[in-house]
Symmetry: C2
Subunit: 203 residues, 2 copies
């Protein structure tokens, strides 16, 4: 297997952290430089027509894209420790929270970064009004996470799951998006400090 990797970008990091939390060694890494648009070349487009990173190339040549699809594949090959849940209800609740965070907080932070950061002007047709609309929604997304963490050590209970990786990466991504985390989010701060101290978080 080979992992086409995108360095510090959030989705490549999510996958590398997932491997680390599973205790599965990373496959051979193939760095793809997004700043020089290597993910838009004809060769890369053949591998992933959606032109996104990361991509896991399986030994039979199959190109598997989409962060969560790659994580689920790793989980299926190495079930323990389970990061997607081990029964129907737990699995569904983890899927729910992972999606809530992805489609809410993570998506809004990404929108602010992609549509307002000067470094992204080259790669995106920026819509500043969309960055602004997402900036205004940020507090609602943060409160949803804050309230959930008030009753739980991790997003879905006493153990780390894929939803924590998604949420932690979203909080990390606020820094390059120039979005400060207000002091009132004490549960998020407590939980994020614990995540950041895990060895996996250096991945």
């Amino acid at each position: 297997m080979k992992l086409y990797d995108g360095g510090r970008a959030p989705n490549p990091r999510r996958v590398r952290i997932f491997f680390a939390e599973k205790g599965v060694p990373l496959p051979e890494l193939v760095p793809v430089d997004m700043a020089s648009k290597e993910h838009k070349t004809a060769d890369f487009t053949k591998l992933n027509p959606a032109q996104r990173l990361p991509v896991l190339e399986l030994d039979d040549g199959t190109a598997l894209a989409e962060t969560i699809a790659i994580c689920r594949y790793v989980e299926a090959l190495h079930p323990q420790p389970s990061l997607f849940g081990s029964d129907a209800k737990q699995g569904a609740m983890i899927e729910m929270w992972n999606r809530r965070i992805e489609l809410g907080l993570f998506s809004s932070v990404s929108a602010v970064f992609r549509h307002s950061h000067p470094a992204m002007a080259e790669l995106e047709d920026q819509v500043p009004e969309w960055a602004e609309a997402n900036r205004e929604q940020l507090d609602d997304h943060l409160w949803l996470l804050e309230l959930q963490l008030a009753g739980n050590e991790f997003v879905c209970g006493p153990a780390l799951t894929v939803a924590d990786i998604t949420a932690g990466i979203a909080i990390d991504f606020m820094k390059p998006a120039k979005l400060p985390l207000p002091e009132d989010f004490v549960q998020i701060r407590r939980w994020h400090a614990a995540l950041s101290a895990r060895p996996s978080w250096k991945a």
Copy 2:
């Protein structure tokens, strides 16, 4: 179990079609009228703080939100016919395609509808520039699907999966979003006609 349902909206339909394709009878339906903002009331917000439909209430009172989380729960209780794949690689490829369509075509069509349709002005802080940006991306998303369907009867091969439900609903949603499907998309037209003729599609 109870299913809090939102009528003709795309995500409630995805879940009802999923039940029908699984051959699982729908639970008791509780209609929630989004036009009169019933999904924004205090009671509904207690059930789903993200204020979205549908929500499956389990017999123990757990509220399970997010379309795909509900579908996965149904799949876990009733594995056959499998709509999420039955081995690691097939499951990952279906997850990849479902996400590609959700985050690409479905998300763009939704953005056009939500940010340009006059009926949505009451429910959304509309950003017309975002509707326009998504309208411009539509052809790219459609080509990704067209090329995949050129070699496959359904999105992921010879059998219908959850990715077909997501993609078919996205194509249906183009009508209220006032986005015509150009004649050149012959594979999409062939596949969508076959989907629309299935009994499940009336759900």
